[in-house]
Every structure is written in structure tokens, then in C-alpha cells.
């Protein structure tokens, strides 16, 4: 992703470190870097979150629109993911440079949330077959220092958690067209149940049988192949995707998946606790980008 040129010696140092169980920045194999989350920082959106993981910086906003449901799912709302890779994040993203990554990322998010066990989309339905809510999740990559997928997935979950949708009152029907009203009270809103929303955990293959999570860009240089695993809070694996060229042995892969389940459940618990904590803060000052 980000062009870093490492010498063989430097690579060796990183790989050998991992083999010995200690990474260049002192972390363990399954340690994450310090992660910062703030929600509700974009007041014009229905929900928003910003996630910073070291220098990796993503901003996620959720906006709601009304639309007709797709004919095959008349009582399901929709989630649509759009990723924009800002040229600020990396010089390669300039022009259409970030497009491939953006497509991969948004496709991954689509896959992640495509399982019916992740998010109950029927709560986004206003009138079956006629009106549903569509959530547009815009993901803005502001800076990139490794492990983008994990950061984005955590950000999306946090943004959805923080999303407030205006309550819609169906007032009647007119000539086959439904009429609805929104409450004049901005506090009269609904939340989305994200208790099953999954996150992604990326494993970078360092050697034949060793993987690490939350790799730095330098570490990413040392292992060309990664596997991204989606996991729900209950430990259900919902998506799996390999990134980069290379091979995983079955043992490594199943070990990675097993690790993901344990790690994922931990991160989920931790994330929910932190989001609850943030919400319970009174008169919380929005820090945003200031």
C-alpha cells in the first residue's frame, strides 16, 4: 500500500523478531496498537465515527435516505458502503490511484454485513414493499499506516452504534402513495442494533506458520499475504478473504481463524464497553479534528 523500502536486513530483523515473539515496536504477535475512537463528530450525518490506529486514520459517516426496497427483499432495508481514499493518506491514491483499494474495501464491507446474522435489516423497513431506509456508509481514508481493514470495520460498527435515525410516522396513504411524517423533536430517534455487528481482523503471514495481527506498514512489507477474517461478537466467522499473493497452509489458516474468534470476541466486548462509556459521558465535548 504505502511505499516503504526496506532492506533485507531490516526485513530479517522484523521476521526474526516475530519468530522470537517480539515485534519491532515491542508488541506481542496478537497485540493491537493503541486505538482511538470518537463518535458523533459529524453533526450533519446521522451517525459518524473516527478511528485512529497509530497513524491510520479513517472517518466513517452514516446517512439515511428513503428508498424503495429491492423486489426480492421487500421488508429489508439496505446498507451501502462507499470508500474514498484521500490523496492525503498516500501519494499513490492521487487521481484514480485509490480506486482498487476502495473497491476491495467496500466489497469486503458488503460481504461482512451480507450475513443475516450480523445486522437485522428488517428494522430499516418502514412499509414492507414500499419504503425502506437505506444507510449510506461513507468511509473516508484520511491516513494510512497499516491495518486499514480492521480500523474501517471497527469504525463502521462504532458509526452504526452512534447512528440516530429519525422516527418515521406513517400518516396515511394517498393514491397508492404512502405519506409519512418525521417528528419535530430531534431527540425522537431510533438506534440500530449493532450487538451482532462484525469486525474484521487481518492476519499477516510472516513465516510459514506464524501470523501477526495489526501489522505496521513495515511489517506488511515483510509478508506479502494477509487473510482478513470477519467475526461477530458471538465468535461467528462471517467473511474470509485473502489479500496479496502467497499461500497459507491449512494449519496456519485454521490457527488464524481460531485466534480471530478469541481475539474478536475480546475486541468486541472492549469496543462495546468503550462506546457505552462514551455515550454515558455528560456534555461530552466533540474533539473532532481540532
Amino acid at each position: 500500500m504505502v511505499d516503504i523500502n526496506l532492506s533485507d536486513a531490516e526485513k530479517c530483523y522484523i521476521i526474526d523478531g516475530v519468530k522470537l515473539g517480539i515485534r519491532v515496536d515491542g508488541r506481542d504477535r496478537l497485540d493491537y496498537r493503541h486505538l482511538e475512537i470518537e463518535t458523533g463528530l459529524v453533526s450533519t450525518a446521522n451517525g459518524s465515527a473516527r478511528v485512529r490506529l497509530d497513524r491510520t486514520d479513517v472517518l466513517i459517516t452514516v446517512k439515511m435516505e428513503m428508498d424503495r426496497p429491492s423486489p426480492d427483499q421487500p421488508n429489508q432495508g439496505r446498507l451501502r458502503f462507499f470508500v474514498n481514499c484521500s490523496a492525503n493518506a498516500a501519494p499513490e491514491f492521487e487521481g484514480r490511484g485509490g480506486e482498487d483499494l476502495a473497491t476491495t474495501l467496500s466489497a469486503m464491507m458488503d460481504r461482512l454485513y451480507s450475513s443475516p446474522y450480523t445486522l437485522d435489516r428488517s428494522c430499516l423497513c418502514v412499509v414492507p414493499g414500499k419504503h425502506v431506509k437505506v444507510l449510506y456508509v461513507d468511509i473516508e481514508i484520511l491516513d494510512c499506516a497499516g491495518n486499514l481493514f480492521d480500523a474501517v470495520s471497527i469504525g463502521v460498527k462504532a458509526a452504526l452504534w452512534a447512528t440516530h435515525l429519525p422516527r418515521i410516522y406513517v400518516t396515511g396513504e394517498d393514491g397508492g402513495e404512502l405519506e409519512f411524517e418525521v417528528s419535530d423533536n430531534p431527540h425522537d430517534t431510533e438506534r440500530i442494533n449493532v450487538s451482532n455487528a462484525p469486525i474484521l481482523i487481518t492476519h499477516l503471514r510472516i513465516t510459514e506458520n506464524l501470523t501477526i495481527v495489526d501489522p505496521t506498514p513495515e511489517e506488511e512489507e515483510c509478508g506479502p499475504v494477509q487473510v482478513v477474517v470477519g467475526v461477530t461478537p458471538s465468535g461467528l466467522i462471517t467473511a474470509l478473504q485473502q489479500l496479496g499473493q502467497g499461500t497459507f497452509t491449512t494449519q496456519t489458516l485454521s490457527a488464524a481463524i481460531k485466534l480471530t474468534r478469541e481475539l474478536g470476541m475480546k475486541i468486541h466486548t472492549h469496543l462495546t464497553a468503550k462506546l457505552r462509556q462514551e455515550e454515558s459521558m455528560e456534555n461530552r465535548e466533540i474533539r473532532g479534528f481540532l
Binding site: 450525518a45 446517512k63 428513503m66 394517498d174 393514491g175 397508492g176 409519512f180 419535530d184
Partner: protein, 981 residues
């Protein structure tokens, strides 16, 4: 000091397209908002508005105090606030904003009060005040939040005023709010309680509005003004089951809140009354209706509901959606008051709209006094269309313009349909703009002829070739002449007559051979077919075919060779047609005579030339023909068409002349009728299935009811069993004291008639071919191909019959011909309306700027109005029986001197009693019946450029308190002295 904090106000809003968006506004809190009290000490304002009070007039609040009002008080008790004794009022910004949101007219009045320096009304910007700003809480409605904001503001004032020894009293009509305010140790009273406690102004209590109604009602009302429409599936199901019916909605001309639907399976049209029953259906929409239970059936209203008037009296209340309830009930009352006692008609309500017939509408923008507002009302020129709400940011540019607006939607919670501005036509009063409005409103194609159309025209110089001469009969030796009105350039008929050796006459009618130039299926033909007719406006003619044809090559001008399609009869001196034949010919007219010239020639016995003698013979024959026709039962009807003489430069009306009647006119008319009848008979004989004919159905007896009732009121009985009996009874119905009586009767009879229609002979049974007015079994149009497309088709059929031309498939396809006749019928009707509309505008223009008196005759009586006919200008005007103009003046006065407006209005208002059985309007001893002569004063109220209304007032007979004195004799009818009737 200054800016303290930034807040964000968040709210959700539904967009036009039905999406929901979140809106976030910045909101800044300041600490330098002053209280407005002169001598407050702690505040640093420059011009303090409120004065320190030293005494109190109220027994409830003995301390000197200021008032603070809440929103409902502002909305409902504005009359009290206008009173002079109410001064020093603090209006929180919250209230001002809410009032603006809920009722613009009241907002306007409140703003006026704030402007006036004597009232000392102070607007306190509490929303930005650091100590008074409140945020909406999670479980709080917006109303509750606003009430709380007002209480907090009041509390702040009461604390702030303590050092100045002033107090504040909150006036609120909301009981809960009152109680909550008292727990904050505020003084809070209802308006009634407070006003009752005032010692010095006892009369003020009368101004307090009694409002027991819960305001929630208003909210519910606001959500649904109209019942919902059914979906297409439900409608189809309902129609199938017979529960619903469908048909095209036709709005009444007199009353935009009443409409009729002609539904299948009903002999009578179904009545629909009232805004809610009409349920957003517009004129010409295809609607689904549900019959009301029989006990709710109604009769057509006898009141004239003038949309303009309605809206005006409410002073733009239509802006105010909250007030709709009142409007609706008012309208209901008005409708109910006019309900006649006649036979009840099936009545229904609209439950769904199957097909909208929305088009673009011409009209003007109603002036909105709140300049920053972007919402405006659009007044369509078509009286049958309700006002349309549009949004524009450039109202100033549009005020004096005629504009076009398109309707976008009509949601249930909006009283008026919503639309958007399309384009400007031109300035109000501008000749071209007014003409265009008329043409657009009547769907008359009036663009320039396209290049491809013009390419179909023959190239000039146009010469008659030898081939032409070989194909056509050469009739250039005959003494043919044309007789037309003055200034006619599209001459499509000419006549000749010569004595045959056997004593009979040979009479020829020569019609411009338009079908020679307009070949079937060319661009020119398609264009002419689309236009179908030439449209005559008072100052403009919109040709059906390009000028080169209409005024030159086809026009049978004098002393030039022209192609004609001729019909030649042999007629006995007793006017019996011996034989007839059609031929294509070349003629050379000996002269383009006007009716007057022809008449002069006939009357001048010294003129003995061939042309004059043939005119005399024609005239003689025509008289016999006419007698025969009338014996057969043809009706002589009257219209009140007048001719406007315009000054072409200034485009003003110089003179209005009633259309004169000369013998020569009926001479031409008789032969044209004969030619048409002959053409009809010939085409029908050869093409029994695809002749284009014109029928005039006998009107159903019910059509005559208003006529018979009106005649009855004058003790005249008309026999309407057949056209013959009707014609005879019309002939004997005269009144010595009223020379215009018979004409009036005939005008009214005309209005009972059905429309004459073109049709294709194959689509109807022969008895239906009958022409009621002319009393002929078959009839068609043959004589004016330059201005009517139907004649061109008839020409083509005849050309095929005489083997002068080929046929083409469309000509002989009775289905296509039937469709074509429908189209022509529509265009004809529209062209007729356009012509009348133009005459009306011209007539009104001629009245502008002066007060004119006219003789007029009562045409129709209504409960609140009399429609009278003014023959001089050929218009029908409405004399309202309520005191509408004065009322408005009073209102204005009352506004200015509102405090003293307590005096009782001592004017005598006459009461009119309307009897719809015997048809009279009675006022004390005076009884007005149809046909009665009235002298009226007519002027145009041009005070508002946009609303030029014809104001009509009674002069004679005198009704105290209603009629107006006559203007002095010498100024009477200043310009119209030369009236020739």
C-alpha cells in the same frame, strides 16, 4: 461581552421528493442582548423601547408591570393587542418565529405593531440570550420547548426588572403553561382574566377571542385537509364491484367548489360539492367517485363563488395553513347557503384520481406583502383552477407579468396544489401577452408555420397552366362576386346568379379550392389538420393555413383568376331546387363587395348592371329560401356579439358596435346553407359510411328548465317539444315595454342548446344526423375551407365524387375520420372560447379608467348575485348583492383606526330575499325578475395592476343603501355615444 458560545440546532425535515434529511444550523449564544427597558441601568442599549411603568391599570396586578405574550395569544388575540390601551409588551423571539411559521397575515400585523412607536412592543431575542436559551429535551415536544423558552425568558425579565421595581406578567391562554409559570413564581394570566381586570378600558373585553377549542384540533386538521386517494388497484376493484364510478370531472364556471361528473350508467351528471368532496381533483381529470348516501344528496348551488373574492376577504389567509379549518367551514356555509330547494341530484365525492389532466397554466402572482417570503400564490387565468402555491426567489420580477406555472403535486396537507414557475409570457395588459394567455389557455396552436409547412406552398408567381384550364370548367365569363364583412381578406365564397331561358335561375356558389393547394398527408395538411380552424381574436387572427393561401391564392379576390370548387343549382323562381352539380372551376370575381356595398346596390334602383341585378335575384331567392327553412322549424337565435373598432396604433378600443344585420347577410347565409346541405346530401349519398357531417342534437328537455323558469317569471310559456314549436313560441313572445325582451329570450335559448358537432356518418344511425337548429336532416360544412379543416375534408370527398381527384386511405377510414372529427370539435370549441375570452378582455379594456353607465337586462338570478347582460358591450357582468366593496373599505378603515373601531356600523344594509322557485330577488317592495331592465354603473378597479376586476353597481332601480347615484348626464357614456343598435 459579545459572542459566548456556539450551539447547533438539529432537526429532521422531509423533502419534496419524500426523502428525510438532517439539517444542522449554527446558533450563537450572546451575552449582550438587552432587556429594552428605558432606564434599566444594567443594560447598554441605545434606543430603549419599553418605558418604566409607575401605575397599574389592572386590579389583578397592582404593581406596575410589563406584559409578555406567548404564541397562542399573538395568534388568537391579535385584535386585543392592536388596541391602544395595550402597550409595553415584550415579545420573545420564540413567539415571533412561531407566529411567522403558523400565520403570515398575523405575523404581518404583529410586525406592524412592533414598528409603531406608540405601542412600545419590544422583541426580546431570547433564543440567543445566554441565560434564556433552552434546548429541546428528549421527551419534550417542540411546543413544550417553546413554552418553556417563553417562561424562562419571563423569569429572566422578572429577575432583571427587580432593581427597577418593575414586574412582568405572562399572558398565556394555555392552562398548563399558566400553572408551570406560577411554580416559577411568575405572574401568569389568561388574556381574558387580564383584560377583565383592566379598570380604564372595559370595552376591550369584547375584543377578546373566545377559544375553548383545543389547539390540538388544529394540528390534526393541519395534517389532513383532504381525505386520501385510493390506489389504482382499489379503484379498479371498486369500479368492478359497482361501488365506485368513474368519469371526467367538469368544474362549474360560476363556482370553483362545485363540479359535475358524467359517469357511465347515469342519465344525469353527478354533482360534487365542496373542497373536501372534490378532494384535489381538477377540471378535466379522470376521477373515481363514490356516491354519497341519498339523504346527503344536494342541489347545485345558486351562489356565485368568486375565488378572488373569497381569497381577498380572508386577506391572504390562504397563506396560513393553520387557518384552513375556518376557511373550509366558511366555504361550506357559503355553499350550504346557496343550496337551492330544487330537485336533489345524485351527489358524490372523489375517492381517487385515475388520470390527471394537468397542463401548464397562465396567470399572475398574488402579491405577498412579506417580501422575504419565497412562497407565493399563483392565480390562474382559468377560473376553474384553484390557486397554485409556487416558490420563487424573484417575486419582484414576476409581479406585473403574466407567467406560466406547472403543477407538481397536491399533497393532502396542502390546501392548494404546489407547482413551479415555468416562464414569463409578458407584461400584464400588454396586447401580445394577453393574446398569448388566451391562446395558451385554450390550447390553440399559434406558433409560426414551420419551414417544412411553408415548403409545401406553391412558388410565386403563381400562374394558371393549360393543364389546369383543361381540368377545370372555365366560369370566368360569369358575373361572380363575393360579399363579405368589411376588412375581410380571407374570402372563401363568391356567388353568381343568372336567368335561364326556361325562366328558372342558375345559381352558383363558388368556394375557394383550398384542397387543390393542400394535398393530403403533406406537412401543410398535417399542420392545418392540427390547427383545424382559424382563431379570431379581437385584434389578431391566427390562420389555419399560411397567409399566402388564406389571403392570396385561395382568397377569391376581385378581378383575378382563382380556382374554385363550385356548386351550381337550377332553381325555380319559387326557390325550388331542380338540380345541382359540383365542379372544379376557374372564376374571376367581378368585385369584392362588402355587405353594405351589396345592400346599397340592391337598394339603389338606378343601378341596372348585370351584377346588381343578379344580386337582386339572389336576394329574392334567399328570402323565399329562408321562409321555407323557418317553416320547417329552423330556429332564429341571437347572440350578443359586438364588433370592436380598434385603433391599430394605440391598440385601444375606439368604438363598440353591435353587429348590424343587413338583408345581404342573410342572402349570403341562405346560399351557404343551401350549398352545405347539398354537399352533405351528395357526400352522404356516395359515401354512406365515411361522410363528414355536422349534427346538432336536440337538447334534452332538462336543458330548457332555466329558460322555462325565467320565461314563467314573465308569464310567458314556451313550447319546447320540437324546434318548430319553440321557434313559433319565440316569435310571439314579446314585451311592449322591453324591446330587447325577445332578443334576450333568444340569447337565453341559445344557451340551452347543445353544441353542434362534426361526426363521421358511419359511426351513428341516420336519425342522429339531424341538425336541430337548422331543421335539416343532414348538414355539413363546405363553404369555408380557408378557415375550417372540416370543409377541406368535405371538398376532398366531393372531388372524389366528381372524379376530379384521387382518394387516399385515411379519407375513407371511418374510424380515422371519427377521431379527426373529435379533434376538430375540440379545436372549434376552444377557438370559440378563445374568441369570447378575447372579446371580454377587450371590453374590459374599453371600460378602464372611467365609470360608465349601461342599460342591462337580468339574465340569471343567484342568491348572492345577479348576472346581467350588457348588450352595448356584449358582455355579461355580475352584480353582487352583498356589500363587498364597502366591506373592504370598512376593513381598511378599521385597520387604521383600530382602537376607535368600536362604534356600531350604522349603515342600512338592505336584505335580499331570493326565491328560486318563482325566480325573483326581492328587496323590500322591489322585485327583480329575469329580463328586467337595470341601469348599472360599470368601472374597472385597477387599483391593483394585477387584479383588474369589473366592478358593477346598481343605479336604477334605486335600493337605499345598495344602489349608487347616477353619474351626471353629460359624462355618461362619454365615448360610446355612437352606439348603433
Amino acid at each position: 461581552m459579545g459572542l459566548l458560545e456556539r450551539k447547533q440546532k438539529t432537526f429532521y425535515r422531509k423533502t419534496k421528493k419524500g426523502n428525510i434529511i438532517k439539517i444542522v444550523r449554527e446558533h450563537y449564544i450572546r451575552d449582550d442582548i438587552w432587556c429594552g427597558l428605558d432606564g434599566c441601568g444594567s443594560c447598554e442599549m441605545e434606543d430603549a423601547i419599553l418605558e418604566v411603568q409607575n401605575t397599574s391599570d389592572s386590579t389583578l396586578v397592582p404593581q406596575p408591570h410589563h406584559l409578555m405574550i406567548d404564541t397562542n395569544v399573538a395568534l388568537h388575540q391579535i385584535d386585543v393587542l392592536c388596541d391602544d390601551s395595550i402597550t409595553d409588551v415584550i415579545i420573545p423571539q420564540t413567539v415571533i418565529q412561531e407566529v411567522k411559521h403558523r400565520s403570515l397575515p398575523i405575523y404581518k400585523r404583529l410586525r406592524d405593531l412592533i414598528e409603531s412607536s406608540t405601542k412600545r412592543f419590544y422583541v426580546f431575542s431570547n433564543e440567543h440570550h445566554s441565560e434564556c436559551y433552552v434546548e429541546q429535551e428528549a421527551k419534550e415536544t417542540l411546543n413544550d420547548r417553546n413554552d418553556r423558552a417563553i417562561r424562562i425568558a419571563c423569569w429572566w425579565y422578572s429577575q432583571h426588572f427587580k432593581p427597577a421595581k418593575q414586574s412582568v406578567v405572562l399572558i398565556t391562554n394555555d392552562f398548563a403553561n399558566c400553572m408551570k409559570a406560577r411554580t416559577l413564581e411568575l405572574k401568569a394570566f389568561t388574556m381574558k382574566e387580564y383584560v377583565a381586570s383592566l379598570k380604564s378600558s372595559p370595552g376591550l373585553l369584547d375584543l377578546v377571542a373566545n377559544l375553548d377549542k383545543d389547539e390540538n384540533e388544529e394540528l390534526i386538521q393541519r395534517a389532513c385537509i383532504y381525505p386520501p386517494h385510493l390506489g389504482t388497484a382499489d379503484i379498479n376493484q371498486g369500479v368492478k364491484r359497482g361501488k365506485l364510478h368513474h368519469g371526467v370531472l367538469k368544474t362549474s364556471r360560476n363556482n370553483f367548489l362545485e363540479a359535475n361528473v358524467l359517469a357511465e350508467g347515469f342519465t344525469k351528471s353527478i354533482l360534487i360539492q365542496g373542497r373536501q368532496n372534490l378532494n384535489r381533483a381538477l377540471h378535466d381529470d379522470l376521477v373515481a367517485i363514490e356516491l354519497l348516501p341519498e339523504e346527503e344528496w344536494s342541489t347545485p348551488s345558486t351562489v356565485v363563488i368568486d375565488k378572488e373574492k373569497q381569497e381577498e376577504e380572508k386577506e391572504g389567509d390562504s397563506e396560513d395553513e393553520g387557518d384552513d379549518e375556518n376557511t373550509l367551514t366558511e366555504e361550506q356555509k357559503l355553499l350550504a347557503s346557496g343550496r337551492g330547494k330544487g330537485e336533489r341530484q345524485p351527489t358524490a365525492r372523489v375517492v381517487g384520481i385515475m388520470k390527471r389532466k394537468w397542463r401548464q397554466y397562465c396567470g399572475i402572482i398574488k402579491k405577498n406583502e412579506i417580501t422575504e417570503s419565497i412562497r407565493h400564490l399563483f392565480i390562474p387565468a382559468d377560473k376553474k383552477i384553484p390557486f397554485i402555491r409556487i416558490e420563487t426567489r424573484q417575486p419582484d420580477l414576476l409581479y406585473d407579468k403574466r407567467i406560466i406555472v406547472a403543477i407538481d403535486s397536491w399533497p393532502r396537507d396542502s390546501k392548494n396544489p404546489k407547482g413551479h414557475f415555468v416562464r414569463v409570457i409578458g407584461n400584464i395588459g400588454d396586447k401580445d401577452a394577453e393574446n398569448e394567455v388566451i391562446l395558451l389557455e385554450h390550447d390553440c396552436p399559434h406558433t409560426k408555420f414551420s419551414e417544412s409547412v411553408l415548403n409545401c406552398l406553391p412558388k410565386l408567381p403563381w400562374i394558371i397552366t393549360e393543364k389546369d384550364e383543361a381540368e377545370r370548367e372555365d366560369l370566368r365569363h360569369l358575373d361572380v362576386c363575393s360579399v363579405d364583412p368589411v376588412g375581410c381578406t380571407d374570402i372563401d365564397d363568391a356567388l353568381h346568379c343568372r336567368k335561364l331561358p326556361n325562366g328558372n335561375y342558375e345559381v352558383g356558389v363558388h368556394i375557394a379550392d383550398v384542397s387543390h393547394f393542400i394535398r393530403p398527408l403533406t406537412a401543410l395538411d398535417k399542420e392545418a389538420q392540427n390547427r383545424s380552424t382559424t382563431v379570431y381574436l379581437t385584434n389578431r387572427r391566427i390562420d389555419m393555413v399560411p397567409d399566402l393561401l388564406s389571403s392570396n391564392l385561395c382568397s377569391l379576390r376581385g378581378n383575378v383568376d382563382r380556382f374554385a370548387f363550385s356548386v351550381i343549382w337550377e332553381i325555380t323562381p319559387k326557390a325550388e331546387v331542380q338540380s345541382s352539380r359540383f365542379c372544379k372551376a376557374i372564376i374571376k370575381s367581378r368585385g369584392e363587395l362588402t355587405y353594405q356595398q351589396a345592400q346599397a346596390r340592391i337598394d339603389d334602383s338606378t343601378m341596372q348592371d348585370d351584377l346588381t341585378n343578379s344580386l337582386r335575384n339572389l336576394n329574392k331567392l334567399a328570402k323565399t329560401l329562408k321562409t321555407k327553412r323557418i317553416d320547417a322549424g329552423a330556429l332564429v337565435l341571437a347572440s350578443m356579439e359586438v364588433k370592436f373598432h380598434m385603433d391599430p396604433d394605440t391598440d385601444t378600443v375606439v368604438d363598440i358596435v353591435a353587429k348590424q344585420h343587413l338583408e345581404t347577410m342573410s342572402m349570403v347565409e341562405e346560399f351557404m346553407l343551401l350549398a352545405n346541405v347539398t354537399a352533405a346530401e351528395t357526400t352522404l349519398q356516395h359515401f354512406p359510411d365515411c361522410a363528414l357531417l355536422r349534427r346538432h342534437p336536440a337538447p334534452p328537455q332538462s336543458n330548457f328548465e332555466p329558460l322555462l323558469a325565467a320565461a314563467n317569471s314573465q308569464n310567458i310559456t314556451l313550447d319546447v317539444t320540437s324546434n318548430k314549436t319553440l321557434a313559433e313560441s319565440l316569435n310571439v313572445a314579446t314585451r311592449d315595454n322591453n324591446p330587447f325582451f325577445n332578443s334576450m329570450l333568444r340569447i337565453m335559448t341559445t344557451r340551452c342548446m347543445m353544441q353542434a358537432l362534426y361526426f363521421c356518418s358511419g359511426t351513428l344511425e341516420p336519425p342522429e344526423y339531424n341538425h336541430y337548429g337548422l331543421a335539416t336532416p343532414t348538414y355539413t360544412h363546405f363553404t369555408s375551407p380557408i378557415r375550417r379543416y372540416a370543409d377541406i375534408i368535405v371538398h376532398r370527398l366531393l372531388a372524389v365524387i366528381i372524379e376530379a381527384d384521387r382518394t387516399y386511405p385515411e379519407l375513407l377510414d371511418s374510424k380515422k375520420l371519427a377521431d379527426l372529427s373529435q379533434h376538430i370539435n375540440y379545436r372549434h370549441k376552444m377557438a370559440q372560447y378563445a374568441g369570447r375570452g378575447s372579446a371580454e378582455i377587450t371590453a374590459i379594456a374599453s371600460l378602464r379608467g372611467k365609470v360608465t353607465e349601461f342599460d342591462s337586462y337580468v339574465l340569471f338570478l343567484h342568491k348572492n348575485a345577479i348576472q346581467v347582460l350588457v348588450p352595448t358591450i356584449g358582455q355579461q357582468v355580475t352584480l353582487f348583492l352583498d356589500k363587498r366593496t364597502q366591506k373592504r373599505d370598512d376593513k381598511k378603515k378599521a385597520k387604521k383606526k383600530s382602537p376607535e373601531a368600536m362604534e356600531v356600523d350604522e349603515e342600512i344594509t338592505p336584505t335580499f330575499e331570493f326565491n328560486d322557485k318563482e325566480l325573483y330577488v326581492k328587496c323590500d317592495d322591489l322585485v327583480l325578475r329575469p329580463f328586467d331592465h337595470l341601469r348599472i354603473q360599470v368601472s374597472v378597479d385597477a387599483s391593483d395592476v394585477q387584479h383588474q376586476r369589473v366592478v358593477c353597481q346598481l343605479v336604477h332601480p334605486v335600493i337605499p343603501g345598495f344602489s349608487v347615484p347616477s353619474v351626471s348626464q353629460d359624462t355618461q357614456e362619454p365615448k360610446l355615444k355612437k352606439i348603433k343598435t
